[in-house]
Symmetry: C2
Subunit: 80 residues, 2 copies
């Protein structure tokens, strides 16, 4: 099974990396860009065929390691 | 219009960050995890209603700033 995990900074938390990229895009002439937010995107294989169990395990991985739930949100997709 | 950009490391390029996360997950008991790859995920607003133009501009942004096309791939989605 293939997992895709998206970790994003919460709406009310500042994103200095996003602001920097937005500033760079503006200075390059891409002035239509606004509200840039940058997160992480993880892909990996899961050696299991039990979808419900995989979802529970993924949630656990996100809570314990992949996302800092104080300032970040996460969501994931399972394929196959 | 809302843009979502995914920047991932090319298949044949080493991903030390992914390897480190995989090692950490294994040591925490998540041994079913394999082939972890970590990329970037960007979300932003585009102040335009011309979809074709937005796609061309987005491609330009990715090539010029958001992705290092020597070692990274990118893809994007437009919504709205």
């Amino acid at each position: 099974m293939k997992a895709k995990v998206y970790v994003t900074i919460k709406q009310n938390v500042l994103d200095p990396q996003g602001s920097a990229v937005q500033g760079a895009l503006h200075s390059m002439g891409f002035e239509e860009v606004d509200k840039v937010r940058i997160g992480k995107y993880l892909e990996f294989d899961l050696d299991t065929n039990d979808r419900a169990q995989a979802e529970a395990r993924l949630k656990d991985m996100c809570e314990k390691l992949l996302a800092n739930t104080v300032v970040e949100d996460y969501r994931f997709e399972l394929e196959g």
